[in-house]
Each structure stands twice: as structure tokens, then as C-alpha cells.
């Protein structure tokens, strides 16, 4: 049934990659593009570094300015960009699938609002001042908010449906955002610290924090990859999914857990970065159609490509200063999204 349903949806949107071979080739092209993005991220920055110096920074480290820039500054942010981009892309894809809402992003589960509230509380009440210190509170806040949203969404007569989830998410996010503003505005010192966290960035983040969040990101991505069949079934509607033998409530809960792990881990490492989770699933769907067995791996590649390119742009645009990737994503994410909508490639969910 999933096999027959997928082509029917494809006719509406006519994605360019329809055969398995084409999709596999596209995936390979994605890997190549990701490698290019990684090389760009290592080679481009305020300090001019030649490709030969990039290579020698790894093969023959001599501690020159160029080597330090590549190894100590660009490598960590590249690794964080790969992990965070992949996590955000996958989280966006899965949440759009679970809620069958093309405008959904991880924020709909209250993840960013929860993380922000936890961070501002940590600054105001506990006086936490380091980025690494914020990370654990962000992760905790994201998790608690997402569980609260899910519990609230599932507390009605029916199990958590796309509509109740979206409503619960909007309500919880509105409450947490209001409380966050209240705390930040109460104390100018808190506002001063918080305004730097709230613009997501790959620079100045600790690789140790990435290591700390890595288990969450891995579990999230694995859960997402294993949920693709369930997401395909859910896309046909709850009744059809149930008749196909899907345990709808369990599938939804597992997929939501994938989103919490991915987006919670990402926001903990880099702070809130918008638009990746919204744009990437649409771009992936425009390429391969509505089959989540392909959308999720494509998102896994397209997320890091988008984020790394945006980060490189942020280094070039206002050189020798830098724009945080959160700002660049907001500026380029919106036009890209409008372009996707204009092309009519938004697949109905």
C-alpha cells in the first residue's frame, strides 16, 4: 500500500528523482556536496589560508597562524556544523511527518522555547555564565518542554493527534516565551548574557559539549531512520495507518522522541538556529517525493550542507567580523522558503 500511495503523491509534485538509482545517485551527489562544504568551511575565513596549508594543518602540524586557524577554530565549528545541521534537518523532517503539517519545525514541540527558558533561568537564578554551562540547561529545558507538550497534546479523548500536538505546542511555547522575556527584561545583566545565547552560532562552542550531546543526536538520528516506514504509513492518515498494522500511538511517540533528541541536542550545542528544520525537509521532498525512506537520508545530508554554507557566508559577508549562523539562516532561510513555495514543490502531507 505504501508503494502504491507514494507514486500517486509523486504525480502531484513530480519530483526529479523518481527511480531508486536516481535517488541513490542523488544521495552520492549529496555526499560530494557535503565534502565540498566541509572543505569550504576549513579553507574560508578572515585569515587567508591556501588549500596546501589546510592539508598540512592535518598532515604536518607546525603551529603556524594558518594551522591554528584551521585546526583550533575552523575544524571544531565544522564538526559542530555537520552534527547540528544533520540533527536539525532530520528533526524538521520527522516533525513535519508526525504532525502532517508542512509548516511544522522542531519549535512546534516547544523545544526552542523550553531551552531558552531553561537558559535564562540558569543565568538569572544560578548565575551560570559559560556557553558549556548553558548547554546542559538547554538540553534539560528542551526535553521537559517537549514532554510537557506531548503529554498535553495526548491528554484529550484521542491520543496525540497532529492538531492537538500543534495546539499544545503553540500554547506551551507562548507561555515559556513570555516567561523568558519577563526574566530577561527583569534584569539587565541577564538580558545581556541571554541575547548572545539566543542567536545560534557555531563559533566559540566547545567540542566537549558536542561530545556530551552526541549520544542524544545519535539516538535521535537512528530513531528517525528506523521510523521512516511508520512515517510513510502515517502520511496516509491515521485510519489507513492502523489498517496497515501500524501502532499509531507508539510510532508517533518514537518519532517525537527522535525529534526531541535531535533538536534538543542541536539547540544545546549551538543555540537556537531557525529555518534549517523548516527548509530542509521541503527541499528534500522536492527532490525525492514523499517517501520518508529517502527524505530522511536526504535531510541528513542537506542539513549540514545548508548550515555549513550559511556559516561560511557569515564569515565572508562582514569580514573581518563574523555574522552568527543563526542570523545568516534567518536572512537566507526565508527567501529560500518563499522560492520553494513559489515553485509549487510543497508536497501535501
Amino acid at each position: 500500500m505504501t508503494a502504491t500511495a507514494a507514486p500517486a503523491a509523486e504525480e502531484r509534485s513530480a519530483p526529479p528523482l523518481t527511480t531508486g538509482t536516481a535517488r541513490a545517485a542523488g544521495l552520492l551527489a549529496g555526499v560530494v556536496l557535503l565534502v565540498v562544504a566541509v572543505l569550504l568551511s576549513l579553507a574560508v575565513g578572515a585569515l587567508p589560508v591556501s588549500p596546501a596549508q589546510v592539508i598540512s594543518a592535518f598532515t604536518d602540524y607546525a603551529g603556524t597562524d594558518a594551522h591554528v586557524a584551521v585546526r583550533e577554530l575552523r575544524l571544531p565549528r565544522t564538526l559542530i556544523g555537520i552534527a547540528v545541521g544533520a540533527a536539525l534537518g532530520v528533526a524538521g523532517t520527522v516533525i513535519q511527518g508526525v504532525t502532517r503539517n508542512p509548516l511544522a519545525d522542531p519549535g512546534i514541540l516547544g523545544i526552542e522555547a523550553g531551552a531558552a527558558f531553561a537558559v535564562v533561568t540558569a543565568i538569572y537564578v544560578l548565575g551560570v555564565t559559560t556557553v558549556t554551562g548553558y548547554a546542559w540547561f538547554a538540553l534539560l529545558g528542551a526535553g521537559v518542554a517537549a514532554v510537557a507538550v506531548y503529554a498535553l497534546g495526548a491528554s484529550g479523548r484521542a491520543a496525540a493527534s497532529p492538531v492537538t500536538l500543534a495546539l499544545a505546542g503553540a500554547a506551551v511555547a507562548a507561555l515559556l516565551t513570555a516567561l523568558t522575556s519577563a526574566l530577561a527584561l527583569l534584569d539587565s545583566g541577564t538580558l545581556d548574557a541571554f541575547r548572545f545565547w539566543v542567536v545560534g552560532s557555531l563559533a566559540g562552542r566547545d567540542l566537549g559539549m558536542l561530545a556530551g550531546a552526541e549520544p542524544f543526536l545519535l539516538v535521535g538520528v537512528l530513531l528517525a531512520l528506523s521510523s521512516t516506514r511508520a512515517l510513510n504509513a502515517l502520511a496516509l492518515g491515521e485510519d489507513v495507518a492502523r489498517s496497515l498494522g501500524q501502532r499509531v500511538a507508539l510510532s508517533r511517540a518514537l518519532a517525537a522522541l527522535a525529534v526531541i533528541c535531535c533538536a534538543g541536542g542541536a539547540v544545546a550545542v549551538a543555540g537556537p538556529i531557525g529555518f534549517v528544520g523548516l527548509v530542509v525537509p521541503h527541499a528534500a521532498r522536492a527532490l525525492v517525493g514523499p517517501d520518508y525512506r529517502w527524505i530522511v537520508p536526504y535531510s541528513l545530508l542537506m542539513g549540514p550542507i545548508l548550515l555549513l554554507v550559511a556559516d561560511v557566508l557569515g564569515r565572508v559577508l562582514v569580514s573581518p567580523g563574523e555574522l552568527q549562523v543563526g542570523i545568516v539562516m534567518a536572512v537566507i532561510g526565508a527567501p529560500v522558503f518563499i522560492w520553494l513555495v513559489r515553485r509549487g514543490k510543497l508536497v501535501q502531507l
Partner: protein
Amino acid sequence: MAPVGEHAAAVRAPRPGLRALLVGLAALLVLAGCGGGDGSGASAETETRTVQSERGPVQVPAAPQRIAVLSGSLAGDLFTLEAPVVAADPRVLGVQADASGFPPSWSARAQQQGTQRLASEGAGLSIEQVAAARPDLIIGGGQGFTAAQAANAYPQLQEIAPTVLLPAFTQWQDQLGRIAEVVGRTDRVPGLLQAYQDRAAQVRGALRLPPQPTVFLYQARDGKPYVITPTAALPAIARDLGFVPDDVITKADNPPLFGTGDSFETSPELLPRVADAPTAIVLPIGQIPLDQLRTNPVYARLPAFASGNAYELPSTSFRPDYQGAMSTLDTFGTLFR
């Protein structure tokens, strides 16, 4: 139409009872004025001077008796000039208030004067609280957020008392001079400047100067390095002590300057070029202390850090008022003994 006309007539001519009351009050005021001691105090209260504000010339009392200051960074100089401050905003960037709610550098003098602390909670400036303090002069402006608040509330503030908005000064001498002019205490400025010069000469005599030139740095909370320009307040104080501020502008290739032009952002990648001076002075403005910077591989490789010539000064030394400049001299004296 008739009721409107009646109302207008009522506005034009007060009722007889009210008129009598007003005449009585005026007579009382005249009598009080005549009865006041030597009479010079009364004339000082009514005399005005014209001073320059960011919004053009303003008539202010020749000797203001109740000053409300809307910026913590301007308040310190008012206390230094021993001007009567009836209310003050306690916020100074990077400075934690003490138990009294005022910055430690002037909390004692504020309590001595009975200065009222203007509410700093929330984003707003309480116009009502300013009005309740019944000031005869309001001073706002200077560096930062509080200057923007005062500028926004300017129309209402003007209704309360003559309001002088000052520019964002980058040199403490300019700030002290302008504030003295506004409150009519310019006679005190030469003495204060002389005290600074004397203290500087004293510190300079006992100073063991590290290798020169010196670069002045701070790291923002988001990890971005900022370099302080050689003409800013802190390098100028250091120059008075024999330090040679490094020409970071040329080394950074004429970067766009930040805010009032006393610092600029640079990439951590370019820091080895811009901050290659043999001595570095860092400020913990972004809550990132020197010890933490030492563990950062980029900073650790800078010549000043590698040779043990990196020093930390308090954040208040960045944009000091008069007291801040004096205490910066003292800090230099203890750091470079």
C-alpha cells in the same frame, strides 16, 4: 454651541474663589522671597544659564538643587563634583550594585546625600518616579541603553524639569568638563584634573614598565574578540603612565569601529596579527576572565600571553568616569610594581 461657549468662558476666567486663592498664593510667594536671609540664595534659585544639550540649548538653573540623573555612568561625576543628586539610575554596564543598590564606586556618597535609587527593573524608565523626585534639573545621555531610554522619554522629561541630554563621551575628561558646565561647578574641574596628573606622576615614578607596545583586548560573551583603539580612554590613561598603545588600527587594516569608536571586532583568526604586541591588557567585560583566556589556544599563542605579559584590569577601566580613571591608576600601580 452654548455649552461649549460656556465652557470656554470658564477656562478664560477662573471663578472668583479660585482667583482669590491664586492671588493669595502669589502674595505668599513674594513675601517668602523677601523674607529669605541675604537674598542671594533666592536669586541663585531663579537665575538660569543656557547650556548645550543633544537637543539644542537648554535653560537650566544656575545652581541646581535637585538633580535627577538617568544614567549610572554620568552619576559618578556628579558625586565627584559634590552636586546635589536627588535621584539616580544605578545601572553601569558590567558593574554589580552593592547592598544599597548603587555601584560601589559612589554608593557611599549616594547614601550620604539620601539619593533616591531610580527603579532599574524592567526595560522602562519610570517617568512618575522621576517626577515624584521633584528635580529642578534632569541629566541623561552618555553611553549605552539608559541614554536611549532618556532620549525616548525626552518630551515627558522636559515637562518635569529642564532636561539636558549629553553625548556619549569616550574620554572621562570631556565628560567631567561637560557635566561640571551643566551643573555650574566648572571651578572644581582644574583641581580634579591636577589630582589625576599628580597621581599619574606618582604611579609612573614607581612603575616597572613591561615591554612595549601594549595591546588592549576584551572578549564578548559570544566569544568574539574585540580590540580597544589606541585613542580610547583606557589606552590614554596607560599612555599617561608611559605605556605605548600599539597601532592596532593599522595592523587590523582600518576595520569598521564599534559603537562610539573605542573598540572594534576582529576575527579570532586574525588575532595573531592584530594582537602581536609584547604586552596585553585584557578586560573581563564579557565575563571571560584572563585565566580562562589563557586556556584558549588562540590567545595562548599570542606573544604577550606566551611570555607571561598578559594582565587583567577591571571592566570599569574601559569607559571610566573620574573615579574610574583614578582607580585605574591605582590598579596599574599595583599590577606593575
